[in-house]
Amino acid sequence: MLLTKIKEALNSLYEDIQAEPEAAEAAETEAKAEEAAPEAQAEESKPVEQEEGAEAEAAAEPPPPPGPRETDYKAKGYHLDVDLPPEKVVAAAEILNRENFFIEAITGVDWIDDQQLEVVYDFNHFDELCRVVVRTRLDRNNPEVPTISHIYQGANWHERETHDFFGIIFTGHPNLEPLLLPEDADFHPLLKDFKA
């Protein structure tokens, strides 16, 4: 099935992510799973808001291993939730392009309390229903993420719009000029601290 196939393909991107905390804290991970849980939670507590509900009850359980998460389609509207660091986004887009997904939307969310900007990519498939959401979190004061417009040309405009609204720099984008705002606009309206 497409969902399992794409989940396995995207899981390969996480191999070195899982490896890093293991390399750094080699002794701790296996044996002290419970002690590592609040520590890993402190690191991962910023990102995904879906885990916040699980956080309260995960105090006793270890957090789920990083990787693509299957979500309840009826409740959420998408099937796979993939949380990645910014440098892995291009690789994920390449995997999805190989499997003939199409790009639905790219947008940003301003988490001002966490001082982070989140970029959300929506992908869908024409033949079999499988909606994949790729997320990445960026530092609010220096938001940079590589562009995927060489893989998906439709992303060209989506990224320009996200740059317009949030000020996120997509490195490698051919022309990151304002699309919806006037050409000389230097403000980013959808930031939470924007004052007209």
Binding site: A75, G77, E104, V109, L129, W157, L179, L190
Partner: protein
């Protein structure tokens, strides 16, 4: 010397502006064209002339106060946009919709789809130079507008849906009026066929003009009749059925050629399919409430983000709702289909003659306020 002059003339390209003020069909779109004589070397659409800050308003208004905005985004198929937003919030807040309300939603949305395609038909042929079909199309469209006005109260920018249902019930005059209208339109469709579709001039203007391949549609995320005219069998109503669409028996017209004629035929066939859906919905219309028993007073979805897609007249309209548990959205993303459809215009129009590029633009069915949101 003649050779030198020829060389200079051939190398000269000039930049010209198309818009932003058009004859009022599309809206305010400006296209920067770099032309070599009559051929387009590069076309770059410039947007933003009708940017009305819908997404920012989503964060500044409560969930219910955003409803009037939905109708103003794409005013030609405003009910689909209502539907997309309301369904997304209902998914987020877990609100159930009674069955009669779902059927009413489907009937009104499909009527709206027919009126949108009729207006597209008239405006498209007007772009190509034929004035008469516009008047016939508007005549049929006025009938639909009368029907919908008796139910919703507005002619163009509807705000008929509420969270959990609709706000006004239909009566028998609406049902008989709709059936009469369908009978009348069915008789008129062969007339449109003979007048326009089989017209030699139209066929010459549209056949093999503006080919869009399947891969191009996929890379740009084009959906709706633009994708279905290129052989992609993708319609949100069948692909991920929402509301009560799974109860109806209808086909999805798909044409393989990928040229403007194919996109034209897809939309004309969709009018017939919408009429089929309306007839079946009227036959199966159940009795019942149009609002849930436990009235929805205050909508406060749980924290998290949710996505819902519906099939608008122009493609797959998606709404991404990021909620933080309060009575306002934290972030509301509106994925408009025409945005993705227009983004392929730059690549698709390379090397075309200018009138052919206009035919391509008309066949993409653009509504600019929907792109600019």
């Amino acid at each position: 010397m003649n050779g030198l002059l020829q060389q200079d003339l051939n190398q000269e390209t000039f930049t010209i502006n198309l818009g932003p003020q058009h004859p009022a069909t599309h809206g305010v779109l400006r296209v920067k064209l770099v032309m070599d004589g009559e051929y387009i070397v590069e076309a770059e659409p410039v947007l933003g002339y009708i940017h009305r800050m819908h997404e920012k308003m989503g964060e500044n208004r409560t969930w219910a106060k955003f409803l009037p905005n939905c109708g103003r985004m794409d005013y030609l198929s405003a009910l689909s946009y209502n539907h997309g937003y309301v369904a997304a919030v209902e998914r987020a807040a877990g609100i159930e919709v009674p069955e009669r309300a779902e059927y009413l939603r489907v009937i009104t949305v499909e009527l709206n789809r027919i009126s949108s395609h009729l207006l597209w038909f008239g405006a498209f042929v007007l772009d190509l130079g034929g004035f008469t079909p516009l008047l016939y199309a508007f005549d049929d469209r006025e009938q639909i507008l009368d029907l919908l006005e008796s139910v919703t109260g507005s002619r163009l920018t509807y705000c008929y849906f509420r969270f959990g249902g609709v706000y006004n019930d239909i009566d028998d005059s609406f049902i008989t009026g709709t059936r009469e209208f369908i009978k009348r339109l069915r008789k008129r469709m062969p007339m449109y066929d003979a007048l326009v579709t089989k017209n030699v001039i139209l066929i010459k203007r549209l056949k093999d003009i503006g080919p869009i391949s399947k891969d191009m549609a996929r890379r740009y995320g084009a959906t709706g009749p633009v994708a279905r005219g290129s052989g992609i069998n993708f319609d949100v109503r069948k692909h991920e059925p929402y509301s009560v669409y799974s109860e109806f028996d209808f086909d999805i017209p798909v044409y393989e050629e990928g040229d403007s004629m194919a996109r034209y035929m897809v939309r004309m066939d969709e009018i017939e399919q919408s009429m089929r859906i309306i007839e079946q919905a009227l036959d199966k219309l159940p009795e019942g409430e149009i609002q849930p028993k436990k009235a929805v007073k205050l909508v406060k979805p749980e924290k998290g983000d949710y996505y819902h897609a519906v099939e608008a007249a122009r493609g797959s309209f998606g709404v991404r709702v990021v909620s933080d548990g309060t009575n306002q959205a934290y972030r509301l993303k509106l994925r408009s289909p025409t945005y993705s459809n227009l983004s392929l215009f730059g690549e698709a129009s390379r090397g075309m003659l200018l009138p052919d590029a206009l035919a391509l633009m008309g066949s993409l069915d653009l509504v600019i306020p929907e792109i600019d949101r």
